[in-house]
């Protein structure tokens, strides 16, 4: 596995200082996880390999941005990988601002109380997903883990697009209320 969060944080900060040995180590520790993300979302081995290459180029170029993030280092790396794959799938051309938002380095960082609350919520997400109506949790997981769009979700669940959107938005709000209950 990828090692402890503090070790990966340390590697990332060394990568931000252009330490190639640290970059190699970071790759050794995290490439399998990120390749798993690419394979799951892109569902094509050659594309996943190409994407993984691009993702590590981004990580080298953007490691200095992680410092400001409230993500765990692995989550940040997964977010970089996941967003790259979604950009490919959706034909998105994100601006730097979009990327900062997507990678959790927006200006308005949560205060410590909010951050602690978010951490407490993590343990409960599966329980809260299970509390959703049948099929709705699958839609949330499909969107996050497989990178499905509203269109694909609607097709998979065999409902009109607008219905799918209403479902998912309601599910997300229920999820939020369950997590912060």
């Amino acid at each position: 596995m990828a090692g402890t969060a503090s070790e990966v944080t340390d590697l990332l900060s060394r990568v931000a200082l252009r330490d190639r040995a640290a970059f190699r180590e970071l790759y050794a520790r995290t490439s399998a996880k990120l390749f798993g993300v690419c394979l799951r979302i892109l569902n094509d081995r050659a594309e996943a390999e190409e994407a993984l290459q691009e993702i590590f180029v981004k990580i080298w170029q953007r490691a200095d941005r992680y410092v400001a993030s409230t993500y765990s280092p692995i989550s940040w790396l997964v977010a970089v990988a996941r967003n790259h794959c979604l950009d490919l799938l959706r034909g998105r051309k994100p601006t730097t601002e979009d990327i900062d938002l997507a990678e959790g380095i927006a200006d308005g960082a949560p205060d410590p109380e909010q951050a602690a609350m978010a951490t407490g919520e993590r343990a409960r997400i599966d329980g809260c997903l299970d509390a959703l109506e049948a099929g709705r949790a699958d839609a949330v997981r499909g969107a996050y883990l497989e990178g499905l769009s509203y269109e694909q979700l609607a097709e998979r669940h065999n409902v009109p697009l607008n219905t799918m959107r209403t479902w998912l938005r309601r599910s997300l709000l229920k999820l939020r209320n369950c997590l912060s209950a």
Partner: protein, 240 residues
């Protein structure tokens, strides 16, 4: 958020933020959502919390080892001065030499590769013998250089790998042939590469086994022609 009991506008914003975090929206709507979030600190905080919530699903991505070619391609993309680059690029690459300085053998092996990469074809007459020396830190000084000598040109190319010198001191390079006294090759700069043309006497003596040493001297080098300061780095020339 627990204090967020208002329905309507607040919920609408929260749902949009969640959609953005999930990435389910078509490209144009996604970009519009980004603009809206970027302009609203409350939505930004909400986004961070949604990202954190969803990240707990990250565990469900199953690790799979990528093929080794991916790493080679990453390296080739980011560090084109690594293997395969042209001669000047390589010689100027401090990182390249630093990785080599681990040991004399590694230096020799890599320098052979370095020479093979040179595009120019040399006839046997032109092809002088090449010597390389890893001049490594002595007594923990941290001063390290790599020297490459080509008998065809009579020139020593020297690259500083590491080490610092106080402003009132200089490093001086010497060669030592067997039991003979050290002969100065002059003061050498730190943190850059230098080329030194050997005089006829030095050329005749410079051969495999010649020891290169660097001493710490007063500004401008030893005034007596004999080393006065401590040896900070030393290495032996190896034929390649």
């Amino acid at each position: 958020m627990s204090t967020d009991d208002n329905i309507g506008g607040m919920d609408e914003g929260s749902a949009l933020v969640a959609e953005f975090a999930l990435g389910v929206l078509p490209a144009a709507e996604h970009a519009a959502a980004a603009q809206r979030i970027a302009a609203d600190p409350r939505l930004q905080r909400e986004l961070l919390i949604w990202q954190s919530r969803l990240a707990s699903l990250d565990e469900q991505f199953v690790e799979q080892a990528p093929p080794a070619t991916v790493w080679s391609r990453v390296e080739a993309r980011l560090f084109p001065a690594a293997p395969g680059a042209g001669r000047a690029g390589l010689w100027d690459s401090l990182a390249f030499w630093r990785t080599l300085a681990v040991g004399g053998l590694a230096v020799a092996v890599a320098a052979v590769g370095f020479n093979l990469m040179q595009p120019r074809q040399l006839s046997p007459q032109e092809f002088g013998q090449q010597l390389v020396a890893a001049i490594q830190s002595n007594e923990g000084s941290g001063v390290e250089f790599v020297a490459l000598y080509d008998t065809a040109t009579g020139r020593v190319r020297l690259t500083s790998l590491s080490g610092e010198v106080a402003a009132d001191r200089d490093l001086e390079l010497w060669y030592i042939r067997g039991e003979e006294p050290a002969v100065s090759m002059g003061v050498i700069p730190v943190n850059q590469r230098t080329e030194i043309d050997l005089n006829a006497d030095a050329k005749s003596k410079f051969a495999e086994g010649t020891v290169l040493a660097i001493t710490l001297e007063q500004k401008g080098g030893s005034p007596t022609g004999k080393a006065q300061g401590p040896i900070v780095a030393v290495g032996k020339a190896i034929a390649i």
